[in-house]
């Protein structure tokens, strides 16, 4: 009797077999995974500390400390520092994405995800999509702090919105680098360590805080090719000048290239992970 039932259930199961997840499946699974990540954020609100504290603290701190020295006054420095901190906070938030993903992957539930007939990219893409919320919060708070301090961007509302979107998109794109690090590093601490090593030179050796023209030649050349500089230039063009320039095009292209390289790498090493 039970052998008969077994045969029937096997037959039905085999009839339903699909060769691979469709694009629609992939999108739906990614959204489900994003839902899981959002639930997790909701239950562990301390995950938002970095994207709430850092924009407030760094914006005010850098503006008051360096404003007079670099731009002759705090208000004059705001167009530089606000856009710089925008890029910096979204990079820091990216690093947290990678670290948290690594922590998450060590949990038993990821074994189940790997054993399910789902798209291989969904367990990675879901939490990264949810983290867009974090980049959004960071960018919004940085801009708000600026407004409170007297920042009046020349790009107007449209420029600010466009800049905000670019910052969030850049954050999401660059987080694929850290997601990949998360899949290859030995531990969450390692991701954090490597992340710091990447993040500090990239943010400080850019034009985020100081114009590269004041730097030695060799450093200026590095700053000019630093992808963070590209993004910051684009943000400044949008927010401060309200213009869609070539810089914006390069920044968007650069971000797309990062995703095109690191998303497949991350999925590959995640699938192979023991």
């Amino acid at each position: 009797m039970s052998a008969l039932t077994a045969e029937r259930s096997i037959a039905t199961a085999k009839q339903r077999l699909t060769a691979r997840p469709t694009l629609r499946d992939t999108i739906s699974q990614t959204l489900t995974m994003a839902w899981r990540a959002l639930k997790k954020m909701q239950r562990n609100p301390e995950q938002f500390f970095d994207v709430i504290i850092q924009p407030l603290l760094f914006t005010a701190m850098f503006a008051y400390i360096f404003g007079g020295a670099i731009a002759g006054g705090v208000t004059a420095y705001l167009p530089t520092i606000i856009t710089g901190v925008l890029a910096q906070t979204s990079l820091t938030a990216c690093m947290a994405t990678g670290t948290q993903m690594r922590e998450d992957m060590e949990k038993g539930v990821f074994d189940r995800f790997r054993s399910l007939p789902i798209s291989r990219i969904a367990p990675l893409a879901g939490p990264m999509l949810a983290d867009v919320l974090r980049y959004g919060i960071a960018a919004t708070l940085t801009l708000l702090t600026g407004f409170v301090m007297g920042y009046r961007p020349g790009g107007g509302v449209a420029g600010v919105i466009a800049g905000w979107v670019l910052v969030v998109f850049a954050g999401w794109s660059l987080s694929w680098i850290f997601a990949w690090l998360g899949t290859i590093a030995r531990s969450a601490q390692a991701v954090q360590g490597i992340g710091m090593m990447i993040m500090f030179p990239l943010t400080f050796l850019s034009n985020a805080f100081v114009s590269q023209r004041t730097m030695p030649d060799w450093l200026e050349q590095f700053v000019n090719v630093n992808p963070v500089t590209l993004v910051i230039n684009a943000i400044r063009d949008l927010i401060n000048d309200g213009q869609v320039t070539g810089n914006v095009g390069w920044a968007v292209l650069g971000c797309a290239v990062v995703v095109a390289i690191f998303a497949p790498l991350a999925v590959r090493s995640y699938s192979k992970k023991v």
Binding site: L4, R8, S9, D111
Partner: protein, 325 residues
Amino acid sequence: MTTSDLAVDATGLVKRFGSFTAVAGVDLAIKPGEVFGVLGPNGAGKTTTLSMLATLLPIDDGRASIFGVDVASAPHQIRQLVGVTGQYASVDENLTGAENLWLFARLHGRSSRQAKALADDLLGRFGLTEAAGKQIKDYSGGMRRRLDLGASLISSPPLIFLDEPTTGLDPRTRSQMWDTIRELVANGSTILLTTQYLDEADQLADRIAVIDRGLKVAEGTPEQLKTGVGASTLQLRLTDKSLVEDAALLVKRIAGVAPVLTPEAGGLNVPLPDANKAAEVLIALREADLSITSAAVQQPTLDEVFLALTGHASESADETEEVRR
């Protein structure tokens, strides 16, 4: 598609981690509808074997198919055929029981509403309705395992892997888990179960493969394994304790072996190469007017089987397993 396909057909499975060979050529042939137990101590290669079959680890050598589908070349299909319950509950700590099941049902392509209904149904079946709204981190070990098992059943997979389903559970929760597993069997699921508990394999499995150090050392029904190892024992207790010596002489004449005596209790343990000899011994005792209060034929336990097959006891590594996480 042929119905004669084996549920699991594996030959010469090998897995190496660097210079360490975790699985050194294991063959498995599991029939549809049966409960197959893989028994072995911690580190024997049970979980590694299961992980290879579940596409969680690449197969280094050998080949495996599940219901006729090749594991190495069609991993996505295999994942649709197999439900995996991990050694440690593989559910999300931060989510509630209901949310976990909803999540997995959504991932299996159910609509939000269907997923909710299915989650409610499974929570009811596993006695977790009251805990539905609690986060998993507040669940007891037994509740986690039940939820984990529930999550594996969402897609009604024809083959279910249970990796040490009761490791670390207390005896009462363990027997509840066994009942749940027996229900699955009654519903026609094929089950591949790993365990380091001999009584668990004995209780649940139709057939058992004993694995030690990455190699299969024996295979058969629990009875075959026990018979293969040696004699069963006839345990007798006399009404009149003072007659133990007389009884012993008689038994020795009939059975051909000297019984082991426990004179204080009036007991005799008679090793029997052939269980049929038991009747002859009992008849002879009655003819000699030696009355008994109890008689039982005891088969060797799987513990003894294990010791005989592997040359070391089974309990060795229980503790290290617990502390691994």
